[in-house]
Symmetry: C2
Subunit: 158 residues, 2 copies
DNA sequence: ATAAATACGTTGCATATGCAACGAAAATCG
DNA sequence: CGATTTTCGTTGCATATGCAACGTATTTAT
């Protein structure tokens, strides 16, 4: 990444190889893994990754507002809103007005939604186990590094 | 991630926390880092990440076809084609017919394109250095893990 | 040599996305 | 209290994306 080459004018121009650039590697690994996952979710259950994230968060939390999901799974609120509408249309999620704060929309899984999550989770757990096996002893450090980067580059460039 | 909870019917349902799911963490870190980078590129140079990838590859290779870029930086050919057209429109990239194979479009940087790359590269190198500093001794292993995952999940789910 | 199959790059189309604007509701301030 | 600000969720709009289809060119097979 950092070998230097001398140009005709004598100035030094670092040789830059995109494939050795960490943000690129990170984006690539994330893209490939997401695509692999998305293929499964889509083919077998007809849901997208945003859908999946909403479903999982609702399963985990037992119910949440759009804003809750926006912050906890880091999705634009419009993306959450649209995913929720899609899922409601499929009968997987119920939208109810919040009794105390009428601005909020309370989202929760329907029984059908719970059943779907119960079906998909094993796939995710299997993938997780596979990744942990792939990375072996280095897995914990890898996960920590991801957390560190996400924390450091969360809003702002460092 | 793998704590189990017992449901009313006696069956065991693993508790699944999206935020501990590695594909999610990976996607999140990649997204945040990409956004930080994209902000800089866009604000200061008016280019997108696909544009940047094409520019860098052309700088590194000295010239390439759409297909070359598609495979080496893992971008859909339509994405490459559109980025190349945008960049041509801005005078940063030249499109020429390939002399031997008339199916190919030979892309190369114009002097203006070279100048732009020379301006942007320091930003990228700085970010790279920062990331390496953030991760410290663990950087090399982290990079290796990314390569391993990208390799393993390249086309297919493992 | 001719036909069929493949490769390359562009474009049309349907969908997904981010962002800003909006209306409704709640919180804060004077 | 009443007025202003802020919050929440949805939607309109411009843009970006993936995928398939297409025209052209080359390679392979007959």
């Amino acid at each position: 990444m950092n070998d230097d080459s001398v140009r005709g004018d004598g100035a030094v121009q670092p040789v830059f190889d995109l494939t050795q650039f960490t943000p690129y590697k990170l984006a690539l690994a994330a893209q490939l893994l997401s695509e692999a996952l998305a293929r499964q979710y889509r083919q077998r259950f007809g849901i997208s990754i945003p859908d999946w994230r909403v479903l999982v968060h609702l399963s985990h939390s037992g119910g949440a507002s759009v804003r809750d999901i926006e912050t906890s799974v880091v999705m634009e609120k419009s993306k959450v809103s649209r995913a929720a509408s899609r899922l409601e249309g499929r009968g997987l999620v119920a939208k109810r007005p919040h009794p105390e704060d009428k601005r909020l929309v309370h989202l929760s899984l329907t029984p059908e939604g719970q059943a779907l999550v119960a079906e998909i989770q094993p796939l995710a757990l299997t993938l997780q186990a596979q990744i942990e096996a792939d990375l072996g002893a280095g897995f914990a450090d890898f996960a920590k590094a991801l957390d560190l980067l996400a924390d450091k580059y969360n809003l702002q460039g460092g």
